[in-house]
């Protein structure tokens, strides 16, 4: 063990931090609101025919310079003369200024059409997406109930949604323009989050199997988190490194997207260790306390049954310990060979 950090002992602090982050995110989400772009809100679409061939780079620069924050410019047809520009609806005076800037810095043009358009992303699509994500979460809960148990599944998925909400809230606070690519960002965050949770819970599950009699649950969780910490740091570093490269070098279109993913990965790494695991820990602690209490009350009320149960429980634990001992012996001194010898002897 190279790290020794008592995560569970400090879990109350992390609950407060997680709760505060959630409050800030919800506030950001409902008070400031997501800055929905033209993919969602719709806007106006200008089709312009320029006198001479132009470049989209030039048009992009001009529109950005004119203070238009959210737009798409596309060539239509061949010859690089005809351009469709989608942009948010704006007051007449601003629009005139933008049109003037286009003439000045790009070239003279005639307006072929100028119409209002709906968002390419309807409410329906967004709702469908949310439902799909919830169904996907249910699928994972069912799988985890088989491979882990209900407590791991619920604690894990709860933290996945926490990641998604907090990231959304931060995006609202930072006022990133939310367009179609943003959906990909949220999905990426959720995917990363699921992966991270399972890797860490796998270690908890493994250590629970090796648990010694009367070994505190907190030790198991702390051990697991410390064992996986090296991996958590390495993986988060790799993903953030890659995303930072895209963030810095990738240009305007992917900037907000990669920033969103970086935010999500940071929260994802945080919540696997400091939210999902503490929730699981407190849940299981409570169950174990209840079991112990039940065993005690049974012991006083119905001594025989109680004793029986206690005896049974002990035997189970002893059995586990025995199996564990056997396992370790087997690992140190490979049994197969011995077994093989026995077999061959028998054959002879």
């Amino acid at each position: 063990m190279r790290f020794h950090f008592d995560f569970m002992g400090r879990r109350r602090i992390f609950y407060v931090v997680s709760g505060a982050l959630l409050v800030v995110a919800v506030a950001g989400f409902f008070i400031r609101g997501l800055n929905l772009g033209i993919d969602f809100t719709g806007g106006t679409q200008l089709t312009a025919r320029f006198a001479k061939p132009v470049t989209l780079t030039r048009i992009d620069a001009t529109l950005s310079g004119a203070g238009v924050t959210d737009f798409v410019a596309q060539f239509i047809g061949t010859g690089q003369k005809e351009v469709i520009i989608s942009m948010p609806s704006m007051p007449e005076s601003e629009r005139t200024a933008v049109f003037g800037d286009l003439t000045k810095s790009v070239g003279t043009y005639t307006i072929v059409s100028f119409t209002k358009v709906t968002g390419s992303f309807s409410q329906q699509v967004v709702q469908g997406g949310i439902i799909a994500v919830i169904l996907a979460a249910l699928g994972i809960i069912i799988y985890m109930m088989f491979r882990f148990d209900l407590r791991f599944a619920v604690a894990g998925i709860f933290a996945v949604f926490w990641d998604a909400f907090v990231s959304l809230g931060v995006v609202a606070l930072l006022h990133f323009t939310v367009n179609a690519p943003f959906v990909a960002g949220v999905l990426t965050i959720i995917g990363y989050s699921i992966n991270d949770r399972i890797i860490i819970f796998d270690r908890v599950r493994e250590n629970m199997k090796k648990r010694q009699r009367d070994e505190p649950l907190a030790d198991i969780v702390n051990l697991s988190l410390n064992q996986t910490l090296g991996r958590s740091i390495a993986t988060a570093t790799v993903v953030i490194l890659a995303m930072l490269a895209i963030l810095i070098l990738g240009g305007d279109t992917t900037r907000d997207l990669s920033a969103t993913v970086v935010i999500g990965v940071v929260f994802g790494a945080y919540s696997s260790i400091l939210l999902a695991s503490p929730i699981w820990f407190d849940w299981v602690t409570r169950i174990e306390a209840a079991q112990a209490a039940r065993r005690q009350t049974r012991g006083t009320a119905r001594p025989r049954a109680g004793q029986k149960a206690a005896a049974l429980a002990m035997t189970e634990k002893e059995e586990a310990a025995l199996a564990e001992a056997e396992e370790s012996v087997r690992q140190r001194r490979p049994l197969p060979r011995t077994r093989g010898r026995h077999k061959s002897r028998r054959r002879r």
């Binding site: 119409t115 994972i140 064992q227 070098l249 279109t253």
Partner: protein, 403 residues
């Protein structure tokens, strides 16, 4: 086992050379993978209602029907918007044949069954489903469309076939008579068949049209044009450079962190990308920004698998095992975690694909496929290479091997 190590080395070098050649010379990601509207552009069609005073509700209904048709014709990620009060703009990526696209989406598709007296028996509104099929018996061979009517349609059809045995029923699509057939017998179960369609492709086109329902208002094409990418060309170039630099950074980080094993992980990652792109090309997959995000996430999960394995190896070695035993135990333990994480991710992508919109689907396909491929490369391929390396002369020093 020097010989095996040398074979392994040769294999590694061959793969490295292949990967290097593939990505610099063939450049499959840019040259052969189909790119969607947001990355590459496509065909834009503008339809206008061929009728005065259309309601917004009708326009929205038409919008949904067109979206259904575009998806039905295998167009990935169409963008459909209502424009002004009576126009619908449709952008279709990956469509080469402009005429076919127009035919596919713009038809009103009003299906009418008429009796011998010319009276309407039922319409496309009474249809439950239409399915294209090949019927291969004798002179009647050719493509057909099997129709199933809903309860109302079935009873109407039953009533008509009871009365009209021996007489003809005519089927009209948008006022064109596509078939006139003699009623052979009473058909109570609401099943009918349109026969004599020249090709299966045509039957499929018609079936999709019929399934989508008729447009509530007739529409005409007023514009059809090719459009360029939605993401600026400069931005796409910048993203490509950024992606390449991100890959190099990951590669360097893995080597810095895990030394020789890191190099093996990089090799597995390169193999993963190559295999992935090859499969995407074979699938004729249409690449969009969300699907690129899916690739990046699955690449991250692939790297994570190697990180998990190497972290385990270090633990096992620290616990006093030799390299061989450490690889055995490390893999066994890491395998379970990786498998559970991969299966969960694949379950999530299947659900997202089944229930998600086009954008979500593109993401789901690359994520699910990528994770499945990464299981081959990051787990099985890495294990193979580690086994080879273990037996080779290069691994005398564990510090050099694993850092």
């Amino acid at each position: 086992m020097q010989g095996r190590g040398l074979v392994g080395l040769a294999l590694i070098l061959v793969i490295l050379a292949g990967v290097a050649y593939y990505f610099t010379r063939v450049n499959p990601a840019l040259n052969y993978v189909h790119q969607g509207l947001d990355l590459k552009g496509g065909v834009q069609v503008v339809l206008q209602a061929d009728k005065k005073n259309v309601t917004l509700a009708d326009m929205q209904k038409a919008e949904n029907i067109i979206a259904f048709r575009a998806n039905g014709f295998g167009v990935s990620e169409p963008i459909i918007q209502i424009q002004g009060t009576n126009q619908i703009s449709v952008q279709l990526p990956g469509i080469k044949d402009q005429q076919a696209a127009i035919k596919a989406i713009g038809q009103t598709a009003q299906l009418i069954f008429k009796g011998p007296d010319g009276k309407t028996i039922l319409t496309g509104a009474d249809l439950k489903s239409a399915q294209a099929a090949l019927s291969g018996t004798g002179s009647a061979s050719g493509a057909v469309i099997n129709l199933a009517f809903d309860a109302k349609g079935a009873s109407l059809f039953a009533a008509a076939t009871k009365v009209d045995v021996g007489k003809t029923i005519s089927i009209y699509l948008d006022k064109t008579n596509i078939e006139t057939a003699t009623v052979q017998q009473y058909i109570p179960n609401g099943q009918a068949q349109i026969t004599g369609i020249p090709t299966l492709a045509e039957a499929q086109r018609l079936a999709t049209l019929l399934n989508s329902g008729a447009l509530p208002i007739p529409m005409k094409i007023i514009q059809a044009n090719s459009v360029s990418a939605q993401l600026g060309a400069a931005s796409i170039r910048a993203s490509e450079t950024a992606g390449l630099i991100a890959m190099i950074l990951i590669g360097l980080f893995m080597i810095a962190f895990y030394r020789f094993a890191g190099l093996i992980a990089d090799l597995a990652l390169a193999f993963y990308l190559m295999l992935f792109i090859f499969i995407l090309i074979q699938m004729k997959f249409v690449m969009t920004l969300p699907s690129v995000a899916g690739i990046i996430l699955s690449a991250g999960i692939a790297v994570d698998a190697n990180v998990i394995i190497f972290a385990r190896l270090r633990e096992e070695i620290r616990a006093g095992r030799g390299l061989g035993a450490a690889i055995d135990h490390g893999f066994r333990n890491a395998f379970r975690a990786i498998l559970d994480s991969n299966v969960s991710t694949i379950i999530a992508s299947i659900v997202l694909y089944e229930f998600g919109s086009q954008d979500v689907r593109g993401f789901a396909v690359t994520l699910g496929l990528g994770v499945a491929i990464s299981f081959l490369t990051a787990v099985l391929f890495t294990r193979y290479l580690l086994r080879l390396a273990e037996n080779s002369v290069f691994v005398q020093n564990l510090k050099v091997f694993l850092g």
